[in-house]
């Protein structure tokens, strides 16, 4: 089995069967990560380039581990160390990397559309590891994988996504993924952080967190980007926390088995109370562990290996 596409740019272009294929493939790779010798030869002789224009620790490390466990050769490229600062375009830099016979390029970039633009210009497979506010497909896939372990069925699952959805690629990818699989998605946050027309993507919008949380099976907290304070999106961190922080009391409004997720890194005491975060640390670490398995699956399926 393989994906019938060269690249993974986002969740939006995938159909539900492709999403399920990735998750099922990740099942078998999760088993590999539990072995004494955590390595399979599936991508032996292939070259994976991690091309990260934005600082990232967990996503880059996760892709690097995933590629190494598949026996691929891995190169890490970051803009400060590359020629990009000399004014070379993304496409020219990528073509140079490709000329060195890279098979898969993993791209993290601050501009929405960077991965799609790159994918059109190179023969190598491109995996979007986050482009601006647009998409972060492997994050959504690992969230789905984690949900599937805990909840099994996506259809009818009630999921609240809380925080700054307007500036979140994680939120967009999760909205596409969850709605495609039949989940009910709610968005909660101040109106300044709910992008125009989100309701037209099949999302129910709530400005009061308490109403959004009532009876949900899953709560996905988004990281509040603190540097956005002072840009008229919210008055103060204090008021934001008062209105939208996930506290133990608010958590009680959700289903008693509700799962809390966070893509990290967490601002303790800002979007999530420390006691809630700590009670959930197991899930957050599950997300991290599953990230490697899901990225192995994506690398494997795009490489055309069998």
């Amino acid at each position: 089995m393989s994906l019938k596409r060269k690249d993974l740019i986002g969740i939006a272009p995938l159909d539900p069967d492709e999403i399920r294929l990735i998750l099922e493939t990740a099942d078998s790779f999760k088993e590999v990560s539990g072995r004494e010798i955590k390595k399979v030869p599936a991508l032996r002789g292939k070259t994976v380039v991690n091309f990260f224009f934005e600082p990232s620790t967990r996503t880059r490390t996760s892709f690097e581990l995933a590629a190494k466990r598949l026996s691929a050769d891995v190169i890490n490229f970051s803009p400060s160390a590359s020629s990009v600062v000399k004014g070379e375009t993304l496409l020219d830099t990528a073509r140079n990397i490709e000329a060195m016979q890279a098979d898969i390029i993993v791209l993290r970039h601050q501009a929405a559309g960077a991965a799609e633009t790159l994918a059109r210009g190179v023969r190598a497979s491109v995996i979007n590891a986050g482009d601006g506010w647009h998409e972060h497909p492997t994050q959504a896939l690992l969230d789905l994988f984690t949900l599937r372990e805990k909840k099994r069925e996506f259809n009818g699952l009630r999921v609240a996504i809380v925080g700054d959805l307007a500036h979140s690629r994680v939120a967009r990818s999760n909205i596409y993924a969850l709605t495609k699989l039949g989940a009910e998605v709610r968005a909660a946050g101040p109106p300044t952080m709910i992008p125009y027309g989100l309701d037209k993507l099949g999302v129910r919008i709530f400005y009061k967190l308490e109403e959004a949380l009532r009876g949900v099976d899953v709560i996905m907290m988004l990281r509040l980007q603190l540097e956005r304070q002072g840009r008229a999106l919210f008055p103060t961190i204090r008021e934001y926390s008062n209105l939208y922080s996930l506290t133990a009391d608010r958590l009680k409004l959700a289903d008693s088995q509700a799962l809390v997720m966070h893509p990290g890194p967490i601002n303790r005491g800002v979007e999530i109370a420390p006691d809630v975060a700590d009670s959930l640390s197991s899930v957050i670490l599950d997300q991290a562990a599953n990230g490697v398995a899901v990225r192995m699956a994506v690398l494997y399926l795009l490489s055309g290996a069998s």
Binding site: A111, E116, R172, L201
Partner: protein, 440 residues
């Protein structure tokens, strides 16, 4: 001894909006229109051979007038020059173009205006009417020497692309321009509302994760400008309206008798924000492509006269400028060589009668800026375009006369094409073999 030159355009369907709409010949002598009528006799030509253009089955129209182009010279000659821009104009049927002042240096003084006009004369293509800056350096602070700009040949003033945000400065500019009866042209954009935006704020921007420019960014400035025009009595011209709200505001202002004119661009009525999908930098312009209902409102505005003119906002950018991430790409598309068929499409769609569509490209823009162009009246400059309204062709940007290829219409099948462009009685452009030179 003076030798007169004679051109006869024969057998076509002449549309000179408000004057002629029917089969007629056009007789040109020494660069001026001397007769328009049926079966004109070719006068004896003193010492020369008259040029006869067979326009059978074609439309014969006044040369088009574009109120809004960017010729990029001085300063950005790698994108376009006065010469290539005016050649592009002539190939698209435009014999008069008004060029915006956002060159480098900015056209905020006589020297730059004169340089542009000199370059235009040297190029010998379309007539160039420069638009001067409203404020020095288009910085929105101090008024440019508007009187001198007018004396040097500027026909309007604008800080296009860098709109005057300070309403007090704009008020004073409108008042001051009254002394010279110059129209004040505004690119309506509240820079705080649009900050960081690169496409229409709507469902598509939400899906693509691109920062949006709300319709309100344009509409609040349209409303402001109309209030200031009412206060000052100035002649106000609103550039490239793109939203339903703007059309509504202008319609209301016209009904109340304000001296306001407005233009719309072909890309804004031929495309919607959907064209941005795939992060297509050739669909990035300012104002951005809007929604289907905005497009309908623009068409209504064109139909009922709220929108006077069709202008291209021809904005050339080099390949490397647009070959980058969508958020980083500059705004703008070329438009001179695709405007005619996109305008004629409005006729096929039943939005405009043919004569009204022609007026939007000729007499109406000329009236807005009081240019003695855009008509085939006796004694007028003989700027004439022969158009085949039926010819279909595919847009190939490599064939453009413009130096740049940044069009969202590459590969589009178009209907209607310029066959011949005559400027001041000289044949400057002809496509294929429509013209036959014969002795009488």
């Amino acid at each position: 001894m003076n030798q007169s030159t004679i051109v006869v355009i024969r057998g076509g369907h002449v549309i000179d909006p408000g004057r002629v709409n029917g089969p007629a010949d056009v007789l040109i002598e020494d660069g001026k229109i001397v007769a328009v009528g049926r079966d004109l006799a070719v006068p004896a030509c003193r010492g020369g051979v008259p040029t006869i253009i067979d326009a059978t089955g074609k439309l014969v129209l006044p040369g088009f007038v574009d109120l809004h182009v960017h010729l990029r010279e001085p300063g950005y000659e790698y994108k376009e020059t006065v010469k290539t821009g005016t050649a592009s104009a002539v190939a698209g049927g435009f014999t008069s173009v008004c060029c915006m002042p956002n060159t480098n240096p900015i056209n905020d003084n006589q020297a730059v205006t004169e340089f542009i006009r000199d370059q235009a004369r040297a190029a010998g293509q379309a007539t160039v009417f420069p638009i001067g800056a409203i404020t020095k350096g288009s910085e929105g602070k101090e008024l440019a020497e508007i009187g001198e700009l007018r004396d040097a040949g500027c026909v309007a003033i604008s800080d296009d692309g860098r709109p005057v945000m300070n309403s007090h400065v704009m008020r004073r500019a409108m008042e001051y321009a009254l002394a010279f009866d110059l129209p004040v042209v505004d690119h309506c954009e509240d820079l705080y509302l649009s900050e960081g935006g690169c496409m229409n704020e709507g469902v598509v921007s939400t899906q693509l994760g691109l920062p949006g420019i709300p319709a309100a960014a344009e509409e609040v400035m349209v409303a402001r400008d109309l209030a200031l025009a009412e206060l000052t009595g100035a002649r106000l011209h609103l550039a490239h309206l793109s939203t339903a709200g703007s059309v509504r505001l202008v319609r209301d202002a016209k009904a109340r008798g304000l001296r306001v004119t407005a233009e719309a661009c072909p890309h804004h009525f031929a495309l919607t924000e959907e064209a941005v999908r795939g992060f297509n930098t050739h669909a990035k312009m300012n104002p951005p492509l809007r929604t289907w209902s905005d497009v309908q409102a623009l068409k209504d505005g064109l139909r009922d006269g709220t929108i006077d003119a069709i202008a291209t906002d021809h904005a050339p950018h080099a390949v490397q400028d647009k070959q980058c991430e969508f958020v980083d790409a500059p705004f703008g598309v070329v438009g001179l060589e695709t405007a005619l068929p996109l305008t004629l499409a409005l006729v096929d769609e039943g939005i405009l009668p043919l004569e009204a569509a022609v007026a939007k490209l000729t007499s109406e823009p000329a009236r807005a800026f009081r240019l003695s162009k855009g008509s085939l009246a006796l004694g007028a400059d003989a700027d004439v375009v022969v158009v085949d309204p039926q010819e279909t062709w595919a847009v190939d940007p490599e064939q453009f006369f413009s130096k740049s290829r940044n069009t969202p219409f590459a590969g589009w099948k178009m209907k209607g094409r310029v066959r011949v462009t005559v400027m001041g009685g000289r044949v400057l452009y002809e496509a294929g073999a429509a013209r036959a030179r014969i002795s009488p």
